[in-house]
C-alpha cells in the first residue's frame, strides 16, 4: 500500500475555442523567397476522412499552439482545427496532367513547398531530382522568441520522390503499384517516431518531434513534425555538387540567420568570417553527435549525402534509427541493394560530412569549387578528432555515474587516467561472440556479448558494500549478456588482466575524485550508485522494443484515445529519462497501469537487442 501525492488539473479550465494560433500555419515559409532554387511549390487541398490519432499536447504548448493551461482534452473544435490545418494533400503533377478537379472551397489559398536535397538512393547523385518525396512544409510557428518549422509526411507524391525518377513519370498519390514513392506514410511510422523522439528529447538527444498523427483508412497517415530548423546538410550538399554557388550561398546564409534568430548561435561574426564560424559549429555538432551515438549505442544511417540528420545534429526520420541494448557495432541494415554503415563507421561518415562542409565553405568564400580531396588534411578534421575524443570521454565518465562537477575535474585534470580506463572499458564493450557474423531480421550482426550498463550499475553498489574488488568470475557473471556462451566468456590470461585493469582504473577515478572533493570514497560511491541506477537503468528501450510497443498500442486502439495516448507517452518517456539531473523525482510511488506494465515487459524482453 502506498499513499499517493495527487496532481489534479482543474477540470473547470475550458480550452480556448478559437485556436487562432494554428492559422499562421498556412504554407508560408521564408525559404520560398530566400532560396527559391531549393523548393518546389504545390497547391494543396483539404483531405477528407482523416481523424486525429495522436496529438502531442506538451509540444503544442511548448511552441505556443495551445495555451499553457490548456487541458489534455481533444474537443471537437480542437480536432477540427488540427484537421483543417494539417489534413491536406498536394495537387501534384499527375493530378494536373490528368486534369483532376477538386471543389474550389477545398483548395488551400497558399502553396506548400517540398524542398530539394541530396539523397544517395536517387539515381542522380547531384541532388537534381531528390528531396521531399512525400512531405511538404506546412510553415512556421513563432513563440517566445523562437521560430519552429513544421512539415508533414504523407501529404502526397512529389516530383522529388525516387519513383518519379526511377520510372520516368509522375505518380498519383497513393498509387498502389509503388510503395516507396507513393507519397503516403503509415500510422505505425508516426507512432514509432512519436515515442522514439519524445524519449530522445527527454534524454537531450536532438530530434525532430511529432506534433500529430492524422489517420486515414488502410493504416495510412499524415505525420506532422516540428523542429526549430528543419534544414539538413543535404539541403546544401545538392547545390555544392551542382556547382550552384549562388543557391548554396543563399542556403548557407539562410541557415546561419535562422540559428542566429533562434539564439542558438550567439556570436556569429560578420562578413566572410561567419562562414568559418559556421564550419566550426558544424564540426562541433557532428563530432559531438557521433560520440553521443556511440556512447548510447544509437545507430543512425549517416552517409555522404548528409541526409537523415539535421544541421544541428538532430535526428530526422526515425525509419533508419535504432538504439541497441549492447554495443552491436557490427550490425548493418540490409537495404536490398547495399548494406548500411555500422555504428563505428558513423564517425567516419560524419567526418566526411565535415570535410564536405570545409569544401563547401571554401567554395562559398572563393567562388571556386576545389576537389574534395584537397581538404583531406584540413585543420577542421583535426578539430573533429579532438572534439570526438573529448566528448567520448565526457560521455563515458557521465555513464559511470559521476556528476558534472566531478566529470569536469576528471576530464580537465586527470585525462590520462580517464583515457586509460576508457580503453579498457572499450575492450569489453566491443568484445564479440565466437558465433561470428550472421543474419538477423533486417540485416547482419556479430553479437556483442557484454552488457556494460549492467556492470556500471552494479559495480558501485558492490564496491560500496565490500570496499574492495570483486572476483574475476563475478565480474564476468554480472557483465555477460544473453548473447554470451560459456566459451565466449571463458577467462583467458589477457581477459583476466583486463578485468584487473578495469577495476584498478575504476578505483583510481573514485580515489581521485574523493581526494579532490574531500569526500569519502563511500560518499562518492553512493552518489555514483544512485546516478548510475538511472543512467544505466535496467529497462532501456531498443529499436525492436519500440516497434513492438507501437504495435501493442496500435492494437489497443480505437479504445485508446489521443488523450490517453498522450498520458502514456508522457509517462513512458519520463520512465525512459536516463538523465539523473532532469529526472522527475517528485513522482513518488508512480503507479503503472496494465498497458504500461505490458510495455515495460516488452522493453525487458528486448533490452539487449537491436
Amino acid at each position: 500500500m502506498s499513499r499517493i501525492k495527487l496532481n489534479i488539473q482543474n477540470p473547470f479550465n475550458s480550452p480556448t475555442e478559437d485556436y487562432e494560433t494554428f492559422d499562421q500555419i498556412d504554407g508560408s515559409h521564408p525559404l520560398k523567397k530566400k532560396v527559391p532554387e531549393s523548393v518546389v511549390e504545390y497547391k494543396a487541398r483539404y483531405r477528407d476522412g482523416g481523424k486525429v490519432a495522436a496529438f502531442n499536447f506538451d509540444l503544442a504548448k511548448e511552441i505556443g499552439l495551445l495555451d499553457e493551461d490548456h487541458p489534455d482534452k481533444l474537443s471537437k473544435s480542437l480536432s477540427k482545427k488540427i484537421l483543417d490545418t494539417f489534413s491536406i494533400m498536394i495537387i501534384n503533377e499527375y493530378d494536373e496532367i490528368v486534369g483532376k478537379k477538386f471543389p474550389e472551397d477545398q483548395i488551400k489559398p497558399n502553396t506548400y513547398m517540398a524542398t530539394r536535397y541530396l539523397q544517395l538512393q536517387h539515381p542522380n547523385k547531384q541532388g537534381k531530382t531528390s528531396g521531399d518525396g512525400r512531405s511538404i512544409w506546412n510553415g512556421q510557428v513563432k513563440h517566445k522568441g523562437k521560430v519552429y518549422d513544421i512539415s508533414s509526411c504523407g501529404t502526397g507524391a512529389t516530383c522529388l520522390s525516387p519513383a518519379t525518377h526511377l520510372y520516368g513519370r509522375y505518380f498519383e498519390s497513393g498509387d498502389p503499384s509503388i510503395s516507396y514513392g507513393c507519397g503516403y506514410s503509415e500510422v505505425d511510422e508516426g507512432f514509432s517516431t512519436l515515442f522514439f523522439s519524445e524519449i530522445f528529447e527527454k534524454n537531450k538527444i536532438g530530434t525532430e518531434r511529432l506534433l500529430a498523427v492524422i489517420e486515414f483508412p488502410n493504416k495510412i497517415s499524415i505525420n506532422v513534425r516540428v523542429h526549430q530548423n528543419l534544414i539538413r546538410p543535404s539541403h546544401m550538399f545538392n547545390h555544392l555538387k551542382q556547382g550552384n554557388h549562388e543557391a548554396l550561398t543563399k542556403m548557407v546564409d539562410y541557415h546561419i540567420a535562422r540559428e542566429k534568430r533562434n539564439k542558438i548561435w550567439k556570436e556569429v561574426p560578420k562578413g566572410q568570417q561567419k562562414y568559418d564560424y559556421f564550419l566550426n559549429k558544424e564540426c562541433e555538432i557532428f563530432s559531438d553527435l557521433v560520440a553521443r551515438f556511440e556512447s548510447d549505442y544509437i545507430f543512425c544511417w549517416l552517409d555522404w549525402d548528409g541526409d537523415n540528420i539535421l544541421m544541428d545534429g538532430s535526428v530526422i526520420d526515425f525509419g533508419s534509427i535504432r538504439q541497441f541494448g549492447l554495443f552491436h557495432h557490427e550490425y548493418r541494415f540490409d537495404d536490398v541493394s547495399r548494406f548500411s554503415t555500422s555504428i563505428k563507421e558513423q564517425k567516419h561518415k560524419a567526418k566526411y560530412c565535415i570535410q564536405t562542409f570545409a569544401q563547401l565553405v571554401d567554395y562559398v568564400k572563393t567562388g571556386k569549387r576545389k576537389p574534395l580531396k584537397d581538404f583531406n588534411n584540413h585543420q577542421i578534421l583535426k578539430k573533429f578528432d579532438k572534439v570526438f575524443e573529448d566528448k567520448s570521454l565526457e560521455y563515458f565518465v557521465t555513464k559511470i555515474g559521476f556528476n558534472s562537477k566531478d566529470t569536469k575535474y576528471l576530464l580537465k585534470s586527470k585525462r590520462k587516467e580517464v583515457l586509460s580506463f576508457y580503453k579498457t572499458f572499450c575492450y569489453f564493450e566491443r568484445y564479440k561472440s565466437l558465433h561470428g557474423l550472421h543474419e538477423v531480421g533486417d540485416g547482419i550482426n556479430w553479437d556483442a556479448i557484454y552488457c556494460m550498463r549492467d556492470l556500471l550499475r552494479e559495480l558501485p553498489q558492490l564496491y560500496l558494500s565490500r570496499g574492495e574488488n570483486i572476483k574475476k568470475s563475478e565480474f564476468i557473471e554480472i557483465a555477460r549478456s544473453s548473447y554470451a556462451t560459456d566459451p565466449d566468456v571463458a577467462l583467458t590470461n589477457y581477459k583476466s588482466k583486463k578485468i584487473k585493469d578495469f577495476q584498478e582504473s575504476y578505483w583510481k577515478l573514485i580515489n581521485l575524485v574523493s581526494k579532490s572533493s574531500k569526500k569519502s570514497q563511500e560518499k562518492i560511491l553512493l552518489e555514483i550508485s544512485m546516478r548510475s541506477s538511472i543512467v544505466n537503468k535496467f529497462d532501456r528501450v531498443t529499436g525492436d522494443s519500440i516497434t513492438t510497443i507501437v504495435n501493442k498500442i496500435l492494437g489497443q486502439r480505437p479504445k485508446l484515445s489521443p488523450v490517453e495516448i498522450q498520458k502514456i507517452l508522457r509517462d513512458f518517456s519520463e520512465y525512459q529519462n536516463m538523465d539523473p539531473d532532469t529526472k522527475d523525482y517528485q513522482n513518488r510511488h508512480a503507479k503503472q497501469g496494465r498497458l504500461m506494465k505490458g510495455m515495460l515487459k516488452i522493453v525487458r524482453d528486448y533490452r539487449e537487442g537491436l
Partner: protein
C-alpha cells in the same frame, strides 16, 4: 528477531523508526538495502530513501528491485546487509515477485541470522502471516492485478498489520469487523509516521498505534511490552 513495521508516510515522518532500525542492527553505520515493491518509479523512491539514510549517517546503501532479473553476485551481496527495507507499494505485486524469485525464504533466513528487516506499509504487511489486510477496506485497498491466490506471507509474527490507518468511523467499522474474523489474533493499525518495533519477544510502539482485537478497538500508548 528484529523487525520494524512502518505505518507509512514520507521519510521525514519516520525518523524515530529509522533510528530504531539502526539501533537494532548494533552498528553505527550499518549496511542497508532498499527493496522496492516495484521497479517502476524506483529512482525517485530510492533517491529519497538514500538521501534520508545518508542524513542519518548511513553510507552503505544498496537497492535491489525484486521484479527485475538479477545475478547471483548482487543477490549474495544483498543477503550480507545489516538492514533490509521492504518498501511500500502494491502488496500483491510485491508478494508475487518475492515468491517468484524465491526471496520469501531468503528473507526468513536473513531474519533468522540476526538481520534487521523493516517494512513500510506493504513491506510491513509482508512480514505478517498473510497479506489479507491489503485487501480491505474496499475504499482504500490494493488491487490484486496479478490475481494471486496464495496470500501467505513471511509469517515472522503472529499479529496482523494495517498501515495508513485513519482514526475514522469508516476505518474503525471495517477493522472491527475484520478483527472478529481472526479470533484472538491482534490486528495492529498504524497511521503514517507511527509503527511497531519487534525485538525478540518484545514489541515497542512508536507514535499513535491501535489494536483491534476480537471486535474491540484499543488505543496503545508509546510503550514496550511482551508480544502476546
Amino acid at each position: 528477531m528484529k523487525l520494524v513495521f512502518y505505518g507509512g508516510g514520507f521519510e521525514e515522518y519516520n525518523i524515530e523508526l529509522d533510528l530504531e532500525a539502526i539501533r537494532l542492527s548494533g552498528k553505527k553505520r550499518p549496511k542497508v538495502t532498499y527493496i522496492p515493491s516495484c521497479s517502476y518509479g524506483l529512482e525517485a523512491d530510492f533517491k529519497a530513501f538514500s538521501d534520508h539514510y545518508r542524513d542519518l549517517g548511513v553510507k552503505q546503501i544498496m537497492y535491489f528491485p525484486i521484479d527485475l532479473p538479477f545475478d547471483r553476485v548482487l543477490e549474495r551481496e544483498i543477503q550480507s546487509s545489516d538492514i533490509i527495507h521492504l518498501s511500500g507499494g502494491n502488496t500483491f505485486y510485491f508478494l508475487n515477485h518475492l515468491r517468484k524469485k524465491k526471496w520469501l525464504s531468503k528473507l526468513k533466513t536473513f531474519v533468522g541470522d540476526g538481520g534487521v528487516l523493516t517494512g513500510l506499509s506493504a513491506g510491513g504487511i509482508l512480514m505478517t502471516p498473510d497479506i489479507k489486510t491489503a485487501s480491505y477496506p474496499s475504499f482504500d485497498c490494493d488491487e490484486n492485478e496479478d490475481r494471486i491466490r496464495n496470500f501467505e506471507a513471511l509469517n515472522l509474527v503472529e499479529f496482523e498489520f494495517f498501515p495508513h490507518y485513519r482514526n475514522s468511523k469508516r476505518y474503525n467499522e471495517v477493522l472491527t469487523k475484520e478483527s472478529k474474523k481472526i479470533k484472538n489474533r491482534s490486528l495492529f493499525a498504524s497511521p503514517d509516521g507511527s509503527g511497531l518495533v519487534v525485538e525478540g519477544s518484545r514489541i515497542s510502539f512508536i507514535g499513535r498505534n491501535y489494536l483491534f482485537l476480537n471486535g474491540v478497538k484499543h488505543y496503545i500508548k508509546e510503550q514496550t511490552r511482551l508480544i502476546q
